[in-house]
């Protein structure tokens, strides 16, 4: 599903190139649950952003469902977002001025989903995450765990092939964090590919593959059952 060949990323400053990622070769299959681990500054988030097409790479090739992303224009990439990719962030990143319902609605609006269909999709999602009662509240009226739940719901509502989660439990207490991880595990079982970035060994263990990054290189990879 995803294939990275010799991907590299650096920031060029007059004389010095600061390397963030080097020689990344990685293949991710449909149905994988990949955890990317490593110390701060290892390039975890950058790698996730490149996979999520939020950031450009400096060199190498990137194939998403056999399409060469490194050759695509912005319009095509936006089309990929809309269709295949859902994001979850550490800081939730909900739109503060919109209610829970409207936050879930936003991606569907950009996908031009018809009103009736949209309503039923949102209703399903609210039901599935057990947040029907919260649909008219604004993000700042929810706890962190609830906000992240809405963020996951928003990522899922477009029925993505893959969810990219950047430290999804980083701002949550352990109970809430566990709930989110269980949720992701469940989604993975239902067929959604998941890539998460994390510091936390325990959270990483939810994945079936753990990729360790250090100083921009893939240091090692572990496979779990």
């Amino acid at each position: 599903m995803i294939k990275l060949v010799d991907v590299e990323k650096y920031y060029a400053n007059k004389f010095i190139k600061t390397w963030v990622l080097r020689n990344i070769n990685l293949t991710i299959h449909e149905g994988d649950f990949v955890s990317i681990m490593g110390p701060s500054g290892a390039g975890k988030s950058t790698l996730l952003h490149i996979i999520g097409m939020l950031d450009d790479m400096s060199g190498g090739e990137y194939y998403f469902m056999d399409e060469p992303v490194h050759k695509l224009n912005e319009k095509k990439r936006t089309a990929f977002h809309q269709q295949y990719i859902g994001f979850v962030f550490q800081a939730y990143h909900l739109i503060d001025e919109l209610t829970v319902y409207e936050n879930l609605e936003t991606p569907l609006l950009y996908k031009k989903v018809k009103t009736a269909e949209r309503k039923s999709m949102i209703a399903d999602m609210l039901d599935r995450f057990n947040i029907v009662a919260k649909k008219d509240l604004f993000p700042n009226q929810l706890s962190g765990g609830q906000q992240q739940l809405v963020a996951v719901a928003r990522a899922l509502i477009i029925n993505p092939k893959i969810i990219l989660a950047d430290e999804p439990t980083g701002n949550l207490n352990s109970k809430q964090g566990l709930e989110i991880m269980e949720m992701l595990k469940q989604l993975n079982k239902e067929g959604t590919t998941i890539i998460q970035v994390t510091h936390d060994e325990n959270k990483a263990a939810f994945g079936n593959r753990i990729i360790h990054l250090a100083d921009g290189y893939v240091e090692k990879e572990e496979q779990h059952g």
Binding site: K75, T78, I95, E97, L98, P107, L109, Y110
Partner: protein, 800 residues
């Protein structure tokens, strides 16, 4: 698409509500800017619309004449009476020509019990109706004035005198002559230089010598030329024709005539001649007002752009999230554009409401007749909507493009900064606003000072406690002025009575004068007034040499004159004493008169002009004004007694009066209007600039809250923090002041140049303007600064 728009609208409205302060500053500021702009546009459109409604207007001209004698040039709005018939006779390209005579005085009109004075009676040739567009509601324009005893009246007059009865064929009595109503015309529109109320035939004066006088200007002359006529060539031909006539006329010796054609729509704004039929417009003023309107709009717009930029940080996050969940750049740009158009649109709506509320006051200030329906014309709607859209697109577009260009990762990682360069732009914008405001405040102060100077300077006579009674009609006081004076003088509370051709401030006619024996070609044009022997003492006018007229001295009535000091110089006498006993020839009565006295220069016109050479004669035929010196403060009793006496002296004539000090004040109506307008502009500019300043201080205190907290923890007192923040803001206001002064000084000099009598405008005016603006700025920011300085550092330093 609709769903997306609903979502955008929802979030826009929530933003308006959530950021109340910003929304208020934006909408209130823009609405003020738009409202001022609309009001100015109304004014400009009105001024430019003068006489644009005449059919074939591009072929209609007024013919005017310049008289040059010696160094004196007089440009008259009207022309010599025999010219119009001569034009039609001599030049095939002149399709039609007509004259209008406006004696300027009121006539007494009677029908049954209705008995009033009416003004704006025009004596015209019937051709006028074929030249100018004056729509008839009843009667035939081609034949209406064929009979000299016919009159065409306006709709309003028809209603006033005849009610619902058809007036055609009915007889009106005007100044004791009977006229048959032969036509009713639409009321005169406000936007014409030639105001009318009634028309009657100029034939009435057919026997007068001046109707065939090629040296006496007095009749407005309008022509309609054939399509495609060469106007310059026609002007030259007219000059040649007139020169031919002047050759055979001894009165024209030494005078050079030049004729000019003015297109009818150009007259109001571009003709500033003697005896214009209405107060002309001032294109410079139009330009000035348009400029000021745009400046206030720019101030409001810069507030808007300023705050949009400030809000960018907040909106950047939303933009990026939208990108991540699938929005493309175009969708983002259109959302933010829509947002700013929503604000500008709301401001426009509010502006229209403000304009509607302000119209009655505005009409009073600019002497206008605007109604709400005036706003619906496309000349107003199109530019205003255009500017609204333009502003919305600029103010929304710049930040939107910046937002759309953000790389999502930069925002999500918190790498977007609003650095110090953004602050500098904002400070420069606020400085610019105050720069404009200071200039406007100085202008307002200067105009008021000049107005006060003109109204309060001593004009060379005493205008206090003087009751003026105009007497209408032809030679109205010639026979009975002695009786009238004696009768009125007996009234209690009356200190003196005098009669004259007019009171000071009214202006004067002019006549050619030359010292006897001197070269007749060296004529001088002198203004001429007619005073009785009591006028000079009653008005406290001082004599520089010689004596006043003597009562009952027939020699004085017929052969003596007074001149003023300016005339002494103009006529070439060495001193006032030298002039006494000299004889001069004057051409009004065409007689030789002896100079018996010289008055000090007094301002017989208005303070707008310097005191020109003046000739004073005693001829009773020209008396038309009674001045009563009152020595009591109980004016009501005196008025009642005077009215009673009037009824005995002038049976059947309505009594009218006014006080001289009021009529003198009204000479400066244009300056008063300008003073009020500039003051209104200055207040609006100050209001909008203060809105911007308040927004800026809100941003600054918000951004510096952590710094303020740190300073307090390190031991800085609240007072010092207040000082720090105040200095940060006020230094820009001071910079604006200092920059504004030289430019304001330049404008003031330019404006004052047109006034021969001008107030001295010193540094205190500039400093006062600076103090006013700075104090208001301080008051504006103080509450916000005090609040920021008093904040508990524990609150501001808490990490989120």
């Amino acid at each position: 698409m609709v769903d997306l728009l609903t979502s955008y609208a929802k979030i826009s409205l929530r933003n308006v509500r959530k950021y109340k302060l910003y929304s208020f500053i934006n909408i209130a500021g823009l609405a003020t800017g738009f409202a001022v702009f609309i009001l100015i546009l109304l004014y400009v459109q009105r001024e430019r619309s003068y006489d644009n409604y005449h059919r074939d207007g591009e072929r209609i001209y007024r013919v005017t004449v310049d008289f040059q004698s010696g160094s004196e040039l007089n440009s008259y709005a009207f022309n010599i009476p025999p010219l119009a018939p001569a034009l039609v006779q001599n030049f095939p390209q002149v399709e039609n020509a007509g004259r209008i005579l406006n004696l300027g005085n009121s006539v007494q009109v009677r029908y049954g019990n209705n008995n009033f004075y009416e003004s704006q009676l025009l004596y015209t040739d019937p051709e006028i109706f074929a030249i100018l567009t004056i729509p008839f509601l009843a009667g035939n324009p081609e034949t209406a004035l064929n009979n000299p005893h016919s009159v065409v009246i306006s709709q309003t007059l028809a209603k006033k005198y005849f009610g619902s009865v058809n007036p055609l064929g009915l007889v009106l009595n005007m100044d004791d002559r009977d006229y048959t109503v032969t036509g009713v015309v639409q009321d005169c529109p406000h936007n014409t230089h030639l105001q009318y109320n009634m028309f009657t035939s100029i034939e009435r004066f057919a026997n007068m010598a001046w109707m065939d006088d090629w040296t006496w200007p007095g009749a407005y002359t309008y022509i309609k030329v054939q399509p495609g006529s060469d106007i310059t060539a026609l002007e030259q031909q007219i000059n040649l024709l007139a020169a031919e006539h002047a050759k055979n006329d001894s009165r024209a010796a030494g005078i050079k005539f030049t004729f000019n054609l003015q297109q009818v729509a150009d007259i109001h704004l571009h003709s500033h001649r003697l005896y214009e039929s209405s107060y002309p417009g001032d294109p410079g003023m139009l330009l000035l007002f348009t400029g000021v309107g745009l400046l206030i709009l720019i101030i409001a717009a810069s507030n808007f752009i300023n705050l949009s930029i400030a809000r960018n940080t907040v909106r950047a996050k939303e933009a990026v999230i939208r990108k991540v969940v699938g929005a493309n750049s175009l969708q983002l740009v259109s959302q933010f554009l829509g947002d700013s158009l929503l604000v500008t649109g709301a401001a426009l709506l509010l502006a229209f409401i403000l304009v509607m509320l302000a119209l009655p006051f505005y009409n009073r200030i600019i002497d206008g007749h605007f109604s709400i329906s005036c706003l619906a014309q496309q000349n107003i709607i199109i530019p205003v909507v255009f500017i609204t859209l333009l502003l919305g697109i600029i103010a929304g577009g710049i930040p939107a493009l910046a937002l759309a260009g953000f790389k999502p990762v930069m925002v999500l990682r918190g790498q977007i900064k609003t650095g110090p360069q953004g602050m500098l732009v904002r400070r420069v914008l606020v400085t610019g606003q105050f720069f404009i405001t200071v200039i406007l405040v100085i202008s307002a102060l200067v105009v008021y000072r000049q107005l006060g100077f003109m109204q309060n300077s001593y004009p060379g006579f005493s205008g206090k406690q003087k009751l003026i009674i105009p007497v209408r009609g032809i030679r109205p006081l010639e026979q009975n002025y002695t009786t009238v004076k004696n009768e009125l003088r007996t009234l209690p509370g009356v200190a003196g009575v005098s009669v004259s051709s007019g009171e000071p401030g009214q202006g004067a006619g002019s006549t050619a004068v030359w010292p006897t024996g001197a070269n007749r070609d060296n004529k001088q044009m002198l203004y001429v007034l007619f005073y009785d022997e009591d006028f000079i003492p009653n008005y406290g006018i001082e004599l520089a040499a010689g004596r006043n007229f003597n009562a009952g001295n027939m020699a004085d009535v017929e052969r003596s004159c007074l001149i003023n000091e300016a005339a002494v110089i103009a006529l070439g006498f060495a001193s006032p004493q030298q002039a006494i006993g000299e004889k001069i020839h004057e051409s009004i009565v065409n007689s030789e008169v002896e100079i018996v006295g010289v008055t000090r220069n007094f301002n017989y016109r208005s303070m707008h002009q310097k005191v020109e050479p003046l000739l004073i004669l005693m001829t009773p035929g020209f008396y038309s004004t009674i001045t009563m010196n009152l020595n009591s403060t109980n004016n009501r009793d005196i008025l009642a007694l005077t009215e009673k006496k009037w009824a005995e002296l002038f049976p059947g004539k309505p009594f009218s009066y006014y006080f001289l000090d009021e009529s003198l004040r009204s000479l400066y109506a244009a300056e008063e209007q300008m003073a009020r307008m500039v003051t209104a502009f200055a207040i609006f500019a100050l209001w909008v600039a203060c809105l911007g300043l308040y927004g800026l201080i809100a941003i600054i205190t918000g951004m510096r809250s952590k710094e303020i907290g740190m300073r307090k923890i390190l031991g800085c007192t609240t007072a010092r923090i207040v000082g720090l923040l105040t200095a940060d803001i006020i230094k820009w206001v001071l910079v604006a002041n200092v920059l504004a002064w030289p430019l304001a000084w330049y404008f003031v000099q330019q404006w004052l140049q047109d006034y021969p009598n001008r107030a001295t405008i010193g540094a205190p005016v500039y400093i006062l303007a600076g103090v006013i603006v700075t104090v208001i700025a301080l008051v504006t920011v103080s509450s916000r600064i005090l609040k920021a300085a008093a904040e508990n550092p524990v609150e501001t330093l808490r990490c989120e």
